[in-house]
Symmetry: C2
Subunit: 415 residues, 2 copies
């Protein structure tokens, strides 16, 4: 049991008891709990752990290898490098990504990358919760498509032994990289086994144009929908190039739409994310960092800030995307999408939380802690992170950081 004493919660003092990985009690009055380890949190505020809803975590070690390219050119270069990666690389690279995610207060991430058991192992050792997936990406090659179905079955069987410290999902990379046969097979497989379905959707204008050409005028959203893919179990990354009809479909199907603003800006994919329209239509909007090879970091605070900035800017209205909605997108909306009781400071929920040092200049102003955190500060003020009731960072120190960086250098030198 850990008792977080004198902590600032929603801008007022509180005391939080953590027990069995969960938030056992929240009190505005002083409490004593015999046997609890007491942590004095004076000068600290608490926020829920962030849920990063779209990552390719291990790509953090491919950062900077190709800069200043558009998505398709960038992918073609990256795929050549990826052909040489192995489980060892993924394991250490995912640990590096976890270092960056923990440092910004992320305690759950929804990953899409190769060698997912290695990624899963890395994240669990770091103490945060991974959702890892089997990725369908067959480039319309029937032999490869068949092999991927078999590999998916095998990985699913293996995942049955995995506990609640992780979640297994199915990824359909995109409309342009997966055969119709496998889109159908994978989505049926996911539904049959109650697995989340993680996919890229409407990331670029070219994807939209190509899809309409290939599929009788259907947009990626309409095409996926025509195959019965879309539903509340779908986590769709990007959702940037959407027609009004696409927005309506994503809303009606209650799809979880992940906004990845920095990747969209840096690859010049676009920036007119239809946040209001998706929200109003009934979609569940979340935030993700994408892979750090395109975005160029795993710091969700950075991406949240730009999500709000760009909503204000492209709509020409400074009142757009208020801070409370922004925080929800990066916390409870992700939790809802994954069906995990996290992203909220509430009795009974997982004790996934971050302590923020509010003694610095960014918190002098009368604005809310959340607004000052997002707009004025950066992740440096996140002093401590707890995931499932265990400290994964104390005083910005993460155990094994030096060892991870050294091993990362080693695997990086081998590709």
């Amino acid at each position: 049991m850990i008792l977080l004493r004198n902590i600032t919660l929603h801008d007022k003092p509180a005391h939080i008891l953590v027990d069995g990985g969960r938030i056992a009690k929240i009190s505005r009055e002083h409490i004593d709990v015999p046997g609890a380890e007491i942590v004095d949190c004076s000068g600290k505020a608490v926020i829920p752990g962030f849920v990063n809803m779209h990552t390719h975590a291990a790509m953090v070690l491919l950062r900077g290898i190709h800069e200043d390219l558009s998505l398709y050119d960038w992918l073609n270069n990256i795929w050549k490098i990826e052909a040489n990666l192995d489980g060892e690389f993924i394991y250490w690279a995912t640990k590096v990504a976890c270092l960056e995610m923990i440092r910004c207060g992320t305690t759950t991430f929804n990953d899409q990358y190769w060698y997912s058991p290695h990624a899963r192992k890395a994240a669990i050792e770091m103490g945060i919760r991974p959702v890892v997936s089997f990725i369908f990406l067959d480039s319309h090659n029937p032999d490869l498509a068949a092999r991927q179905r078999e590999a998916c079955e095998r990985l699913y069987q293996r995942s049955l032994d995995w506990g609640e410290e992780s979640q297994f999902a199915i990824s359909i990379h995109s409309v342009y990289t997966v055969s119709e046969e496998n889109i159908l097979w994978a989505s049926r497989f996911a539904r049959e086994h109650s697995l989340k379905l993680h996919l890229h959707l409407g990331e670029t204008e070219l994807e939209d144009k190509d899809c309409r050409k290939a599929h009788g005028g259907l947009s990626p959203t309409a095409y996926f929908d025509s195959l019965g893919v879309l539903g509340p179990d779908v986590i769709a990354a990007h959702c940037l190039w959407l027609s009004d009809d696409d927005v309506r479909i994503l809303g009606e199907r209650k799809v979880n739409c992940v906004h990845n603003i920095n990747s969209n800006l840096k690859l010049a994919s676009g920036y007119r994310f239809k946040y209001n329209e998706l929200r109003d239509a009934g979609a569940n909007v979340c935030i993700g960092t994408d892979g750090a090879a395109s975005s160029n970091n795993m710091d969700i605070l950075d991406h949240m800030k730009n999500a709000a900035f760009l909503q204000k800017a492209w709509r020409g209205d400074p009142a757009q995307m208020p801070i409370n909605e922004l925080i929800d997108c990066a916390t409870v909306h992700g939790a809802r999408a994954l069906g995990i009781d996290t992203g909220v400071i509430r009795e009974g929920a997982w004790a996934d939380l971050s302590l923020i040092d509010i003694t610095g200049t960014a918190f002098l102003s009368p604005g809310s802690t959340a607004a000052n955190l997002i707009y004025a500060a950066n992740s440096e003020v996140i002093s401590d992170v707890m995931a499932q009731g265990k400290w994964v960072m104390r005083g910005r120190k993460i155990p094994a950081e030096a060892e991870i960086i050294e091993s990362a250098r080693k695997v990086l030198s081998q590709i």
Copy 2:
């Protein structure tokens, strides 16, 4: 004398000798200098101190007071508060701003705010170089206009005793807040005394429209130009709403145009800054953070990153605004605008520089130190800052930080 040994300069090892406030020697070979204090900089890279070319530093304590408003609504609210500020407030608030600027490696800033002698004193005590100005903002009131001219004369006289640790300039707030009489008087005064002229220009579409209505179709740029204001001694903030003709004029007059992307995004003023066009026309493009009450911080790294991201995004081309040009905008371009030998690591230049801890995850990739600093890291990796040969931050600690924050709380509670 300080010898920075084993430091990474442009991605290769070097040794830098600092003497008399300036960079005395840069050597790729090991050097010994009798009497020099030796600082081992293994694991650190050096970059020039940043030049933040448009600030209202003391507004850092007005941050969060009014959020989510457009420029004119926001200004009307802010002006009511500003009426109650005094020199004591400005002094402590500027110290807070200096804390934030030093923490991101800024060693020179071009300020525009009230009670500038107090701002100057604060900055000099913090060890960084302020350019402070007398501000003309008469709201077209002839009495006030006359009083401002007298006050300007007095402050100028006082500034004659100021040494090279600061610079005195003249500010014309904008076309919409200053009478034509004072625009003419202030620009003549500046030229007569070889002072830089700092102004707001083309920040919003409304400013452009109103100016054209009031001045026979002339844009703010054309109107200023018709009065003979524009020249290479002018530092024009924002320069966002510009016609092709405006760009041509700013280029021909060799105006220093300061891009303030985060303020423009957050206030929803716009984002289509004509970087390429201004550069190609002959203008000198610089970077500024604006005041933290609108932007919402003084961290120039944050603003540099978004300057590049938005160039890529709005033009739909990921190769736009390459990293070397971005760095130049935030260093040597500002130095050139102010006529100060800073923003560069070169023998003879001021020893204004930052050390970056390159042992963390952001620098694992093969990308350049600069690209990793801007795109992957944040200001947390800036470990030490030297201004004019003196350390102003060591190991992210700045002397007097706690005292400044306490005093800032006090003055803040009094407004």
